[in-house]
Amino acid sequence: MIELEGFSPPLLQRETINHKVWKPRTFWRMGEPIPGHLSLGLRILSIVVPFCLWWALSASGVVNPKFLPSPVEVAQAFGRLWAEGYLLEDVRASVTRVGLGFLLAAVLSVPLGIGMGAFATVRSLLEPIMGIVRYMPAPAFIPLLIIYLGLDEAPKIALIFIGVIFFNTLMIMDAVKFVPKHLLEATYTLGGSRRQTLMQVITPFVVPNILDAFRINMASAWNLVVVAELIAATEGLGKRIAIAQKFFRTDEIFAYLILLGVIGFLFDLLLRWVLRATCKWAVD
């Protein structure tokens, strides 16, 4: 104990302070990875538990099977749609729309985003207008798109394009802002021109962020393709769901919802694989 003459600090009794020691935990440790087998087990549960709940609920008879089809009925609906050739046709139609709309948006958003991130001039010119337009919900453009582009593929692709390009661009722009200034300056002192710095330093640096932006915005593209098809289409995953509603085919609606989820998930896996394959430096 420190004794100072003429000074007595307002010390607490040590016994009144709770010196509890917290035991380290595996399961509830924050911000730390968990062992591989535990992770795999939980991942399997993540799918299996909701599936079993669904099965149990439909088997229990509590809910009218008209509203909640059983997994078996959904599988049968799935098989039926496949056999009748609708399924493949619908997947092809929707994937093509998403693919084209997204590709157009990607091709434009990469140079736009990099340009806006790198040059304050371009940013000042484009950020305000993009900031406003991106808050206009893309589906609100549908009537205009139909008036301008008719009822074919063009308005659907345009809708996805509108819904994706602004977010993609702004996310890429933000990534460019995080390129370390010293990395650019090092390039200048190595004799790099602005063009070389843009193409050979800034661009490769943000490739992982571009792929991440794509992954996130791919989800909006899927949202919008279904919205577009609900309004005007002859085929497509969203269209089939709308038709199924008219005939009260909840089994088909379930089948297509699951299909939408799986296709989206596969796209996500694909983009993650591309990231790992092309940007080893950015993944641990």
Binding site: P180, H182, L183, E185, A186, T187, Y188, T189, L190, G191, G192, S193, Q196, Q200, V201, P204, F205, V207, C279, K280, W281, A282
Partner: protein, 261 residues
Amino acid sequence: MHLEVSELNKHFSTAKGKVIALKDLNLYVEQGEFVCVVGASGSGKSTLLRLVAGLDQPTTGTITVDQQSVIGPGADRGMVFQDYTLYPWLTVQKNVEFGLKLQGVSAKARREQASYYLDMVGLSAFAQSLPKQLSGGMKQRVAIARALASQPKILLMDEPFGALDIQTKETMQQFTLDLWARTGTSILMITHDVREAVFLSQRIYVMTARPGTVRAEIEVALGTARTAATREDPRFKAYQDQVIDLLTHSADQAVDQALIG
């Protein structure tokens, strides 16, 4: 090579008004010299190096390399930054080649040149590694090799070992001295570490803050072949004390001026 900095002034305008970062600063570096600029943080020493590198423009005054005015950054003045500025997506080999690639050197020639300098910094075995697999000291050696690969007239170093632990730092200082002796490159280094400056330099410029200018120029006559034993030399201690004295004195003066002002 002859670097001449004369009557250099640099003002910044900030929200609080004009800041005089550098005032009437003069210095030079001769061919093959190792010169350090020592100063406390805020003395404008990094600003000085950025101006020499051409990354910023002076308000008034001139900087010339071989009578040629510095108007912007270029590979004739290689630069090594304090934080590691390697390209994380490129291998060590490609990092060292990068400057030559920017300058349009053929793939074969730049491969050979890069290998030569990687060998010189002792990292040939790591040619195919990614920067994130290297330690801090190794990263700086790659950055030095990358700057040297363009065969600059002068190497500018901005507190290159500031982020390293003390053991690594002393190893890197010895390494840099050896490299300097072998290549004959002229070096202008910025540091706040007095021991580092005395150990490495032929000449030291001591900078004072607010406004940043050269307060003293000290010749360090400890020979060119310096080793760990040099640090034990009584003259080493004397130089160190002299620089510290100049820095402390100017710091006191700055405080006095601030109090009066």
